[in-house]
């Protein structure tokens, strides 16, 4: 009796599995990650560089403002090269610069900012590089121009005078 019940149960379970697979076939949806056509910025969680307090992306990026997200690291030579430009850009005060500290050692990063100045309004940590993947970044350095929580332009590699100039035109 017990055995009959068990076999009936097994048939039922596999029947349900069959139906679900069958339904899944009907949709026949190829699994692709959603491509952000509107270029909305990703939602992520991180920690603040200095205080270590956890942050949500919504705490950093406000809707009606313009931001430049800069992915940097103390071990990255081109970052060192572009850094003074960022500091200058901060002096002008039109764009809020946000730093994403990528796969870095805390102490080295602090020294880096002390030596070269801190252009960032806020800095958050991406210790294992997963947040950078969410952003679709290739490596360091890389920068994203953001307005209304949308990515307007993406800069791969270090910024230079020319790019900064173009960026300013875009922001206007």
């Amino acid at each position: 009796m017990k055995k009959k019940l068990l076999s009936f149960f097994m048939v039922l379970v596999f029947g349900v599995i069959f139906i679900i697979f069958y339904k899944g076939l009907e949709d026949s949806n190829i699994y692709t990650p959603n491509i952000n056509i509107k270029n909305e910025i990703p939602v992520f969680k991180s920690r603040d560089f200095y205080s270590g307090i956890s942050l949500n992306s919504s705490d950093i990026f406000e809707f009606d403002k313009t931001y430049l997200l800069n992915i940097w690291s103390s071990w990255c030579v081109p970052c060192r090269q572009e850094h003074p430009l960022l500091v200058d850009l901060k002096e002008e005060g039109k764009i809020n610069i946000i730093g994403m500290n990528y796969k870095d050692n805390r102490k080295n990063a602090e020294n880096f900012l002390q030596d070269l100045g801190n252009p960032y309004k806020e800095v958050f940590i991406d210790l294992d590089g997963t947040i950078a993947i969410e952003w679709g970044a290739y490596g360091v350095p890389e920068s994203f121009l953001i307005h209304n929580n949308k990515i307007i332009k993406k800069y791969i590699g270090p910024l230079n005078q020319q790019l900064i100039y173009e960026m300013k035109l875009l922001v206007k």
Partner: protein, 624 residues
């Protein structure tokens, strides 16, 4: 053209012979003496026709006969001969034909090699196997015929996906299929044995060879796929928990567990339910893998073509087999509870049983991780993807007791509970723990979980290592396999803990430097080959000791079809791999450069080879 015709009709003949075998088996089931040779020759004939059909497809590929749709879709005249041939099974239709070939080959070998078993059992196994074979014949002819005719005849083919043009991948499918299909023999045989109520110790030692052979091939097949992914996909990893990898891992886990159960069954008449269920599970999981991969329900490198009709066919077929097995299991199998045994808590059987449960746990984690996204999508239209952290979090902690069990288990004599050489066991445990602690301390990686994990792996390592030098301990195959497994876990752990990675964007002539490494992007060359153009980047990399290495990773732009692939440059040494891969950054002068140092990479491959070598020894070992 003529080849396609011959191939097509050979397939139909093969199907007809399948039906004939079916007919004869039923008609003469109780009249067994005269039957054997007739059945045998029909089985051989079937194998012969499938083989002819397969040869025809290979020839069509070699002469680039584009009147054949499969050849047109997957080949190109500029392809090197080697890849023309391997292209035969590098596509859906051809690979199914290979399945069929191996199916018919195995049942033929099974019939001639099985001597001391009742003829009824042999015939019934053949019947079940023919159900599978006929199913595949119909599937092949109806939904994925490799010999479809194209008119007008195209001038040129579409070409083989370049990432499949690779020596490891040319032999990966045949080896893996030998493993998968080997499990079909186990499946048919277990159904036959259950129906005839002859699951016993002698049956176990007869089927053990088949379990071993498919296990060895499955292990090697997975290894080849993994090596390919390592150097071709350019991630620098060897396992990504991709659905396709998972569907090959699941039968492997089931088969490994089955192997251990069979070993117990061979000695003592216990664990019969385990053996039956696992045999069924191994094959249905292989089929399930075929379904998931071929139907397009999951997306992966193995998704050749998405045709819902195909998916539906395999799905229905798979569930027919599952329901058939459930029926046979519940109506024929009587678990002899009266004869039930007392499992002493400190016996070899118990330790195997405990590890079986662990294996089942690992299997279900992988199964859920693979299938759950589909379920969720169907039920709630929500799309999720399950990544490595899920598997790592759920599997790694349970590896610790699993490894300890593996170390201690074989030391427990069958049933009699006596710990041999207790002092050794305990002192080795102490040493491993100390060593693990020191290693992690030295590299500032002092995390409790890692310490315990490494010490448990080290423990297994030392114990199996010691056993090589003990004369009275005879089970050399088990020892090598377990030793290989400990080496595998150790290599993976060290590889994960001590890998370093640099990702940066560089222009030609630029230099990247951090405290340990200096990367000089020296120059770029171009090269033209028959079926691709390549950009070769030259790097000089200096490590902290001032040693210099020259690397030349490539970007290949294949012409047919136009696909860009990046070929990593890997320097392999005994202790570590240096791995560099470049990528184009869109519309910029920069190249994206990934440089990784991965310790003990080579040992991962070596240990898997050791594991399968253990199986091989057991396969050739003479019965005592």
């Amino acid at each position: 053209m003529i080849y396609s015709l011959v191939g097509h009709y050979s397939l139909i003949l093969g199907l007809i012979i399948g039906l004939i075998i079916f007919y004869f088996s039923f008609k003469n089931f109780n009249n067994l003496n005269l039957l054997d040779t007739k059945i045998l020759s029909f089985t051989f004939l079937q194998l012969f026709f499938v083989f002819i059909s397969f040869l025809c497809l290979i020839f069509s590929f070699i002469i680039s006969d584009f009147s054949n749709e499969t050849v047109f879709n997957n080949s190109h005249t500029t392809k090197p001969l080697f890849y023309k041939i391997s292209g035969t099974w590098g596509n859906h239709e051809g690979s199914l034909l290979l399945w069929l070939l191996v199916l018919t080959l195995f049942i033929f070998v099974f019939l001639i090699r099985t001597k001391n078993q009742p003829i009824k059992y042999k015939i019934l196994t053949l019947v079940f196997q023919q159900i599978i074979i006929i199913g595949f014949f119909i599937f092949l002819i109806k939904t994925s015929n490799p010999f479809n005719y194209l008119f007008p005849i195209p001038e040129e083919g579409l070409g083989l996906n370049p990432i499949l043009q690779d020596p490891a991948l040319a032999i990966h499918p045949p080896i893996l299929y030998l493993g998968y299909v080997g499990s079909s023999i186990i499946f048919s045989s277990v159904l036959a044995a259950t129906s005839l109520k002859m699951i016993s110790t002698s049956w176990a030692s007869h089927i053990k060879k088949w379990v071993l052979i498919s296990w060895i091939f499955l292990t090697l097949g997975i290894l080849l796929g993994s090596i390919w992914a390592y150097y071709e996909l350019g991630w620098g990893g060897f396992w990504f928990w991709d659905p396709v990898e998972n569907v090959s891992l699941m039968p492997w886990l089931a088969l490994t567990t089955l192997l251990h159960c069979i070993l117990v069954l061979e000695k003592k008449s216990i664990l019969t339910s385990w053996v039956i269920i696992l045999s069924i599970a191994t094959f249905t999981l292989s089929m399930c893998g075929t379904f998931l991969v071929r139907s397009g329900i999951l997306n992966s490198v193995h998704t050749f073509a998405n045709d819902p009709e195909r998916g539906l066919f395999i799905l229905v077929f798979l569930f027919v087999l599952i329901f058939l097995s459930i029926f046979i299991f519940f109506f024929f199998h009587k678990d002899d509870r009266k004869k039930s045994f007392s499992l002493f808590w400190l016996s070899k059987e118990t330790s195997i049983l405990i590890n079986n449960w662990f294996m089942m746990y690992f299997l279900s984690v992988v199964l859920i991780g693979t299938v759950y996204p589909i379920f969720l999508d169907v039920i709630s239209s929500e799309k999720i993807s399950v990544g490595p952290p899920f598997y790592h979090k759920l599997i790694i902690p349970f590896l610790i007791p699993f490894l300890f069990m593996m170390a201690i288990g074989p030391k427990l004599k069958w049933i009699k509970s006596q710990l041999e050489d207790k002092i050794y066991l305990i002192s080795l445990l102490f040493i491993s723990f100390l060593l693990a602690f020191l290693i992690l301390k030295n590299f500032n990686q002092n995390i409790l979980l890692n310490t315990i994990l490494i010490s448990s792996a080290l423990y297994l390592f030392f114990i199996t290592l010691r056993d090589f030098f003990i004369k009275k301990y005879k089970n050399i195959s088990q020892n090598i396999a377990h030793f290989g497994f400990s080496l595998l876990i150790l290599s993976i752990l060290f590889n994960n803990l001590f890998s370093s990675e640099i990702i940066t964007n560089l222009k030609v002539g630029e230099t990247f430097q951090n405290s340990k490494t200096k990367i000089v992007f020296d120059s770029v060359n171009q090269k033209k080959e028959q079926n691709y153009n390549s950009i070769i980047a030259n790097f000089y990399i200096y490590n902290s000791n001032g040693e210099e290495d020259k690397f030349s990773p490539e970007l290949r732009i294949y012409n047919q079809p136009v696909i860009v692939t990046s070929e990593a440059d890997i320097k392999t040494t005994l202790t570590s791999d240096k791995f560099i891969v470049i990528n184009l950054v869109q519309n910029q002068d920069f190249f994206n450069v990934r440089y990784q140092v991965k310790p003990f990479m080579l040992w991962i491959w070596i240990s898997v080879i050791l594991i399968s070598f253990g199986g091989l020894i057991s396969f050739f070992k003479k019965k005592l």
